[in-house]
Point group: C2
């Protein structure tokens, strides 16, 4: 049965589940499957590549999808926003940077403006830019993020902006997590790692396998992989990945890694090309703790909704009258 919140109303979707726009991994096909299953798929615009975006919007076909960008990167290639808006996306999500320069163009196109934030301070900036939806992303998330956790960031932002739907991101991979963030006052959940380990995700099979095998203690947040791929982000962002031999060698030795950046970056690129994840990073969040298979994405959506509804129904039975 559908789960109705302010998020499903705002986006005209059946279930309060968003696919995180994971760079390269959240393909047009994956986004379309999540949307057709009742959620909203966001294509991973990431650092931005016109050809890839055109190809993935074509792959999404007539499914209603959205697209997400890394804001500080989009600021260097603002023409990509125009390209995406021509596809009339349901929503455009901006993360990691000031959304203000892009806000009015997105909203005037008819797309909803979704702003992902990692702190109360950033939420204030996004609300000032008239975000239609705020995504509160905790440090448990895979890939780039900061230090606040989902469990306190979500209710703090809900309290601060009572008129704006809030979506929780980071650490959610099943119906328990969705039910939990609904209790916190969130209107839905955005999930990345959970959909990375799906049949349709555009990721290496070995990367998906590592997500399935990893336990929650196996991820770490650092700048090792950004240094290794010559892609150092502005502060305060760091990236969460699954610990591997390369991370084990360099975690806590970032200054030394910078001294060896030339050879290590070459090694890293080669490893990524041949799918060697002892060196290349699998970008994934702490929610790997809860992921044990890579089924079709539509099945993931169905399972999460069923489990969340079962948990919600059971909750009242804890109260002894």
């Amino acid at each position: 049965m559908p789960l109705q919140t302010r998020l499903t109303d705002a986006l005209g979707i059946e279930h309060p589940i968003l696919l995180a726009p994971m760079d390269l991994v959240a393909s047009g096909q994956l986004a379309a499957v999540v949307s057709r299953a009742g959620g909203l798929g966001l294509i991973g615009g990431g650092y931005g590549n016109a050809e890839w975006l055109e190809q993935e919007f074509a792959a999404a076909g007539n499914a209603k999808v959205g697209c997400g960008f890394i804001t500080w990167s989009l600021a260097r290639k603002p023409e990509l926003l125009d390209l995406v808006l021509r596809y009339q996306p349901v929503a455009v999500m901006l993360s990691f940077g000031d959304p203000t320069p892009f806000a009015s163009k997105i909203k005037e196109s008819g797309a909803k403006l979704i702003c992902q934030v990692q702190s109360l301070a950033q939420a204030k900036e996004a609300a000032a830019a008239a975000a239609d939806i705020l995504v509160a992303q905790g440090t448990e998330a895979g890939g780039h993020g900061v230090t606040r956790t989902t469990l306190t960031l979500v209710p703090e932002i809900v309290d601060a902006f009572p008129g704006v739907p809030v979506v929780a991101a980071g650490g959610i991979a099943d119906g328990r997590g969705l039910a939990a963030v609904l209790m916190l006052g969130a209107d839905g959940a955005l999930m990345g790692t959970r959909f990375y380990a799906s049949q349709e995700a555009q990721g290496h099979p070995e990367a998906k396998q590592r997500i399935i095998e990893a336990r929650g203690d196996d991820t770490l947040r650092s700048i090792v992989f950004d240094i290794s791929r010559r892609n150092i982000w502005p502060q305060p962002y760091t990236g969460r990945v699954i610990r591997n031999a390369h991370a084990g060698r360099w975690y806590g030795h970032e200054a030394e890694l910078l001294e060896h950046q030339h050879e290590e970056a070459q090694r890293y690129t080669e490893a990524r090309e041949r799918g060697d994840f002892d060196v290349a990073a699998v970008i994934a969040g702490e929610a790997v703790a809860l992921i044990h298979s890579a089924p079709p994405a539509a099945e993931i959506v169905d399972r999460i909704i069923l489990e969340a509804e079962a948990r919600l129904a059971r909750g009242t039975r804890l109260i002894v009258s």
Copy 2:
């Protein structure tokens, strides 16, 4: 109305709320008030001081309370466990270290053995020591902790040890947080910072005021305050505190602080004595985001239960039939 879980059954209490045994702050009086309100108060045994413990058990009077210890510190003064067991506590909670050497003595006394863990690996150790209750503590917690977050650590431990009641700790300060962790499969919540900001907590009024005023973005996890008070913990533990001028000066400059430890430790001790919290740390978690007053502790318990029950009751109404 009572909220019944495996935790309330195991401890014979009315509500699934535990007072975190905060060193010096969780006094006998505070523990007694939390227990009389239907939860379980745990006296903050901390680093351990016989005189203080005797005084606080006396202050708790005939209330049924428990006591918590820092395990690696207790290993240096094991006689304190005998002292505490003479008071027939409901439970003894061990955190930060291997519980094995103390487990059987605690259980044979009739007290429940509560083990707080910060990772799946530690949970395995605690389960092997036959812990009656596991507390899964996320990095959002105030004071010492590690890096895993409550949102993923709780369900991972619930899945790994289905026969053991699991309590969530870190980031919980209201009924929303309690309802959320119940959805994750936890059997209750342990709260520290929330009860620090209570009338009965044995804390400086100015420290309570800083908890009330802080936003969630204002805490940080580091080893600055441990260096400053000459109390460096074993790895991997770090301490979360409210950011102040002293933390701002030294965070990220820990090696330099170590070089100046002699004068800084003296400055720190003096500041703590005169209640100068621009230098001395207020030990508190990210849940400061959700704390806006310091009422009587019994009122805190009542409010949390009322709010959790209201949330749980509302959850099913999100399902559209």
